[in-house]
Symmetry: C2
Subunit: 197 residues, 2 copies
C-alpha cells in the first residue's frame, strides 16, 4: 500500500485523497480537527503511509495550501481591465461561495490567528495569487487604461476585500452582483488614481 509508483499513479492518488481529507477536516472543524489518523481513515489509506509521508499536521496543512496554489485558475486576459477584474471577482466570489472552499478559507484565517506557521502558509497562498493576477493591472497601465504608477497588488487586493469581508465577517456567500460591485468599485478607485504612488 505504501510503495511509490509511477507519477500520476497510486502515489499521486494517495496524495490527492490525503490532501482532500485534510482539507475537509480543516473546513469542518478548523486546525484542531486535523488528526493524522482520522485523515488516513477518511482518505482510505493506511495510517503508516500518512505518518511516514507527512508525519505532522503542519506538513499536511502545507500540502493543502500547495494544492490550493497548484489548482488555482490562471489570470484572465480579456483585453480590458474591466473584463479582467470582473473575471477575478467572479473567481473569488465563486470560491468563497462554495461551501467547502468558503469554510476552508474561514478555517485558515482562524487557524492563522493562533498559529504563525499557518499564517505564513496562508500569506504564501495570497502572494502567489496576487503575483498571478497583478499583470492584469500592469497591462492596463501599459494600454493607458489606468494611471501610471498604479500599484497592481493593491488593485487586485481591493477586488477581493469586500468578497472576503462578506464571507468572513457575516458568513454570507458572495453573489454575482457582489462580484460585479467589487470589480467596479476597485476600478473606480484605480481610475481616480487612489492606488498610484
Amino acid at each position: 500500500m505504501t510503495s511509490p509508483s509511477r507519477p500520476g499513479g497510486r502515489t499521486a492518488r494517495t496524495r490527492e485523497a490525503v490532501v482532500r481529507a485534510a482539507g475537509d477536516l480543516l473546513a469542518e472543524a478548523g486546525l484542531a480537527g486535523v488528526d493524522l489518523a482520522e485523515v488516513a481513515r477518511r482518505a482510505g489509506v493506511g495510517r503508516t503511509t500518512v505518518y511516514r509521508r507527512w508525519g505532522s499536521v503542519q506538513a499536511l496543512v502545507a500540502d493543502v495550501v500547495a494544492e490550493m496554489i497548484e489548482t488555482s485558475r490562471p489570470r484572465a486576459d480579456t483585453g480590458t481591465i474591466e473584463g479582467d477584474l470582473l473575471e477575478n471577482a467572479n473567481l473569488v466570489a465563486e470560491t468563497l461561495a462554495d461551501p467547502r472552499q468558503g469554510a476552508l478559507f474561514a478555517a485558515f484565517v482562524g487557524a492563522a490567528a493562533a498559529d504563525d506557521h499557518v499564517a505564513s502558509l496562508l500569506r504564501s497562498f495570497y502572494d502567489a495569487r496576487l503575483a498571478e493576477w497583478a499583470p492584469c493591472v500592469t497591462d492596463a497601465v501599459a494600454r493607458g487604461e489606468l494611471p501610471e504608477g498604479t500599484d497592481p497588488v493593491a488593485v487586485v487586493a481591493a477586488v477581493s476585500a469586500p468578497l472576503y469581508y462578506r464571507r468572513l465577517t457575516r458568513g454570507e456567500a458572495p453573489e454575482r452582483k457582489d462580484a460585479e460591485l467589487a470589480a467596479h468599485a476597485a476600478l473606480a478607485a484605480a481610475r481616480a488614481g487612489l492606488f498610484s504612488a
Copy 2:
C-alpha cells in the same frame, strides 16, 4: 464572593474580569482555548461564580460580544461624509491593529466558521456597528453629498472591507494610510453611484 452587589460594584467588576479573561483566551487560542476553569483562574474569581453565572463557553462568548458592542465608539458627525468615513476607517484600523483586538476578531472569524452560534453573535456585532454608522451616509445623502438611494450599509461595509482583508488574510495590522485609502476608495465608489439601487 458570589453574592450580587450594587451596580458598578463587585458584580460589575467580576463580570468585567471574567469577560476580559474570556476574550484574552479567545484571542490567544481561539474558541478551543476558552475553558471555564481557566477563565476563573485568570479573572481571579471562584470557579463556582463562573459556572453559576455563565455556565457555558457559549454564554461567556456571548458576553464578550455584548461587551464589544457596549464599548464601541459612537458614529462620527464631522459634517462631511469624507470626515465621517475617515473617522470610521481610523477606528476600524486602530481596532484591528491592536494586538489583542486584532487577534480577537481573527479568532471570532475562525470560530464562526465552525460554530453557528458564534457566527450569529458575530453578525449581531456587525449589525450593531453598521446600524450605528449608517446614518453618516443617510445624512450625506440628505446634504446632497452622495446620490439618492445610496445604500448606507454598503458604504460603511466598503470602508471596513480592505482593513479586515489585510488583517485577516495577511496578518498585517492596517496603518493610517490604509485607513485613508479605504475611506477614499469607498467614497469614490459611492460618488460614482455604485452603491445606489
